[in-house]
């Protein structure tokens, strides 16, 4: 459980794993943990991550449209969440802290 997950107060603590470049930019080691109101959504988690680390604004999503940057993907529980609605509830395993949300730089050769 890693000491995270649904808090019993209508919020959930979500574990977020950032790629190397964004960890460096934000100056963090390891996972970022953010508390969001249930039912936790991708949008709420990204809002919370950006609030905690404003330097990440524009690096994951477009500042204006809030659309995912083209080469960024969101994975969790062996699923690709990149193409669903940002307002869908996140998988239950994320909400109880069993799994992290992976923010991934899309693979590209060269």
């Amino acid at each position: 459980m890693n000491g995270t997950g649904t808090t019993g107060t209508g919020t959930a603590e979500i574990r977020v794993k950032l790629p190397t470049h964004l960890r460096r930019l934000a100056g963090v080691d390891g996972e970022v943990r953010v508390e969001v109101t249930e039912p936790a959504t991708l949008r709420a988690v990204l809002d919370a991550v950006e609030q905690l680390h404003p330097v990440l604004r524009g690096a994951i999503r477009d500042r204006g449209t809030q659309r995912r940057r083209a080469f960024v993907r969101f994975f969790a529980c062996e699923e690709d969440l990149s193409h669903g609605s940002a307002d869908d509830p996140l998988p239950e395993a994320l909400r109880r802290g069993a799994e992290p949300l992976l923010v991934v730089g899309a693979m590209a050769g060269g």
Binding site: P19, H21, R24, G58, A59, F71, V72, G105
Partner: protein, 371 residues
């Protein structure tokens, strides 16, 4: 003791190279921002330990990083570059209208007098300014309101504003250059602009001597003579003696007048450097010989400088922001290549030696002269 600090932007990070005034022994620090493209770094003339870096990548976009200790440590500052007005359209490669979209910062030009004020040239072409040390950026909107924007088109590297030349005395006067639109001049701090391309002839556009549309690669001037401006264009090396009002060809005896870089000796306003590149389809030196060409007559007559540079099997390129000079008594000249070498000359180009040989492809080279 005097010394120099060479700021090198590469495809995969930034490097800071330092030496004393002899410029024979170098310390190499970096990579900073490893894995990310660093299009440009430049120090503040007013506070040399303040350095700004344009860091970007396709995955996570633009960063502006700032150092206040000469490049030892860095902190991210503002990265929001929002066009001030409806961006409109410019030409795409196929001639169709294409919406203006921010891609990256190509060039940073810190103010001569205020460490917190910096101009940024971006792709898609526009000029931005910060007055708070990089925390926030505002477009200088008059440039894109010139009215010719729908005729601007991207060069092979994108539609970038890559050159910012403030007048050495009057900061309200400035030249900028855009690929492929050409040169624009303001005399009122950026409120209004006029095209400054008279005399340019470009075979790659429908009207070769059009007011805009020219693929200008770089401009340079000497601070003591701001009305004399040198240009390396897609093809042609040009000169203006009236601040960009009109241009004439000074390619003279160059082996080819295609290239990307141009710069001026720190103490001799008529001594100019270019690095000829074979052609727009062969981005490497003619005959595989890397030669800097120097004119001591303000153009027209050029001598090849070869001592210490590879004279066979050399097929690197030297990109538009990758040539610089220092201000020491014996002017130093520096350039970086897409093969990852940074070459230095401590004798105004007579002889050369590599500072480093195996960096990632070099995008930009700037030099700070330290007292």
């Amino acid at each position: 003791m005097s010394g120099v600090r060479v700021l090198v932007g590469t495809r995969k990070g930034a490097f800071v190279l330092t030496a004393d005034g002899a410029r024979s022994t170098w310390e190499v620090a970096g990579p900073f921002f490893p894995g990310l493209e660093v299009y440009h770094l430049k120090g503040s003339p007013a506070a040399p330990d303040r350095i700004y870096a344009a860091v970007s990548g396709a995955w996570f976009g633009q960063q502006i990083q700032r150092s206040d200790d000469g490049g030892r440590t860095w902190e991210p500052v503002g990265n929001e570059f929002a066009y001030a007005t409806v961006p409109g359209t410019h030409q795409w490669y196929d001639g169709t209208a294409h919406p203006w979209e921010f891609a990256r910062v190509w060039h940073l030009e810190p103010s001569r007098t205020d460490p917190d004020t910096v101009l940024a040239g971006v792709e898609d072409a526009a000029l931005f300014r910060t007055v708070d040390g990089g925390h926030s950026w505002s477009e200088v909107p008059g440039l894109r309101e010139h009215g010719s924007g729908p005729q601007w088109q991207p060069g092979a590297g994108g539609m970038c504003l890559h050159t910012i030349l403030p007048d050495p005395v009057d900061e309200n006067r400035m030249l900028v250059a855009i690929s492929a639109a050409g040169v624009f001049r303001t005399d009122d701090g950026g409120k209004s602009w006029r095209a400054a391309n008279r005399g340019l002839v470009s075979e790659g556009i429908p009207d070769p001597d059009a007011e805009v549309g020219h693929c200008v690669h770089k401009l340079a001037l000497h601070p003591s003579r701001p009305e004399t401006v040198y240009m390396q264009k897609h093809w042609d090396v040009m000169r203006s003696d009236d601040g960009g009002g009109s241009w004439y060809d000074i390619g003279g005896n160059l082996p080819t007048d295609f290239g990307f870089v141009v710069d001026v000796h720190a103490h001799e306003p008529e001594t100019v450097y270019v690095i000829p590149i074979t052609s727009d389809s062969e981005h490497f030196p003619p005959d595989g010989r890397l030669r800097v060409h120097r004119s001591r007559t303000g153009g027209g007559e050029w001598e090849p400088l070869t001592r210490g540079l590879p004279q066979e099997h050399c097929y690197v390129d030297v990109l538009r922001d990758a040539l610089a000079v220092d201000g020491l008594d014996e002017c130093g000249v520096y350039f970086g290549t897409t093969g990852g070498q940074v070459y230095a000359s401590a004798d105004a180009g007579d002889s050369w030696a590599p500072i480093v040989r195996d960096l990632p492809a070099v995008l930009s080279v700037e030099v700070q002269t330290l007292s």
